[in-house]
Symmetry: C2
Subunit: 287 residues, 2 copies
């Protein structure tokens, strides 16, 4: 290792790593070194470009705090998060697809009765969401927990300091004996991810926009089944084809069907006109 050269450097770095804490760490770092070195050789990275990368990563760490995680956003916008999700959630045919969790999930939303609104006191276009939680054979799963969160009609989550009530647009619901659930909310808006930091610089440099299509987040879980983290996207949204974080799946695009009059069976508190979204979640058995 005294006689280092461009030709032997990569193997020297790999050979320096022993099986310290576990064999897996060495396996991961070996692959990472090999691929990062291949990247540098391929593009013949200049000193200035290397420094730009260092500064971008440093700024991403420094921007991150309890309310913002710029390093995850970088992973999201490079498709790394989506790929990690694909690698970990190969799904059975017919099962609801997994997609990105995003940075705005908060644990501890209140469990609400069927038909309740997660948008109490928040202005917006009324929406009724209903559907069922099913297993792979189409049988209802009773008592499944649906953890729901979303942005407002202006594209903000409660934590973004835009005047929404704390824990607003968040709630938990249980499926009934027939696997059915329903709740009220308001129509979410598409919105830009934060683009005043290094991620924004990267998007601008490659002429990408920072928008996500409008969506409602869910984590659906039930005893004996794999929980699924997913999102429902609004058909017709202009950003379905170019989601900044690569979260959209065909199977998760739903219609917000406009209703001019209240339908039979609609919950109390709904006012027309409103939108009706229906979706059946299909869970896979626990591994």
């Amino acid at each position: 290792m005294r006689n280092l050269s461009e030709a032997n450097l990569t193997q020297t770095v790999i050979d320096s790593m022993k099986e310290g804490q576990d064999a897996r760490t060495k396996e991961i770092l070996t692959s990472l070194v090999r691929h990062l070195h291949a990247f540098i050789r391929e593009v013949r990275l200049t000193k200035e470009e290397w420094l730009t990368g260092i500064e971008l990563l440093t700024a991403a760490g420094q921007l991150s705090d309890a309310n913002r995680q710029e390093v995850i956003l970088l992973s999201d916008t490079l498709g790394i998060t989506a790929l990690k999700d694909f690698v970990n959630h190969g799904h059975a045919p017919g099962a609801t697809e997994y997609t990105i969790l995003g940075p705005f999930y908060r644990d501890g939303a209140a469990e609400m009765p069927a038909g309740a609104s997660i948008a109490e006191g928040i202005p917006g276009e009324p929406v009724l969401v209903s559907g069922r939680v099913l297993d792979g054979e189409g049988q209802p799963i009773a008592g499944a927990l649906l953890d729901v969160w979303q942005a407002s009609g202006e594209g903000f989550y409660d934590v973004q300091g835009q005047g929404l009530p704390d824990m607003g647009l968040r709630g938990r619901f249980r499926s009934d004996a027939e696997g059915a659930f329903h709740f009220r909310t308001i129509r979410p808006s598409s919105y830009p991810i934060p683009f005043d930091g290094p991620v924004g610089q990267m998007l601008i440099a490659t002429a990408r926009h920072p928008y996500r299509p409008a969506h409602i987040h869910f984590i659906v879980s039930a005893e004996g089944f794999e929980p699924v983290t997913t999102e429902l996207y609004a058909e017709g949204d202009p950003y379905l084809e170019s989601d900044a974080v690569f979260g959209v799946r065909d199977s998760l695009v739903v219609k917000f069907e406009r209703r001019e009059e209240i339908e039979d069976g609609a919950p109390d508190g709904l006012s027309a006109p409103y939108y009706h979204v229906t979706y059946d979640f299909v869970l896979e058995p626990e591994e």
Copy 2:
């Protein structure tokens, strides 16, 4: 891009990038995405492992400030910095090899007369460093600037808050009409890079030590020639074969020859016993 899958995701991310500010940025990011995605596919990175990586990078950014740059240290310890240097500094046969700049360079060291000491008032074993600055034909380069810095006998730089005088162990010297230079210093020690952060976690996880072999840093420059950033390493140092940041080159390992008596021509202020280091720097013509 609505119908994303593990198979089409990488190309979708690449296709999302347009030639925004310049074609080079798209070229670099395309290669980076391809290689990072290949890494994730190869190791089938789990969610927990992904999060460990996110947390490590975030902590590296947050630890960095004016006196410490943990993201560069991560680049150094993964051999990325050394590879970037190789890619940018293919050197002519016989020319002095480039190696890592390191985080401790400070601009603005005082220019000192030949024979002066950069270690005034700092305890340690006396060292005389002498040599010449030459071109590729062995002709002397007069008026070359040698910017020198190093760690103390305890392994600390002035900026590390260990009681060294500000700008201690730093100085600038000029080669004379014969290309010759000489200056006094103290013998540097091998030392650990900072290992109380994420880089330290990585080293521990792969059973690597954090040490660099003892060395003296130089940036040698002269009008009409390419400046060279380099280090001279002490022969016999136990870490020559396992430098934590992959900086050692055979051609940069020098003898610290012990002298029991003052040699003829030694500068004033030298006391025996001392070590004599000689090295001729060979510069390439400017491109």
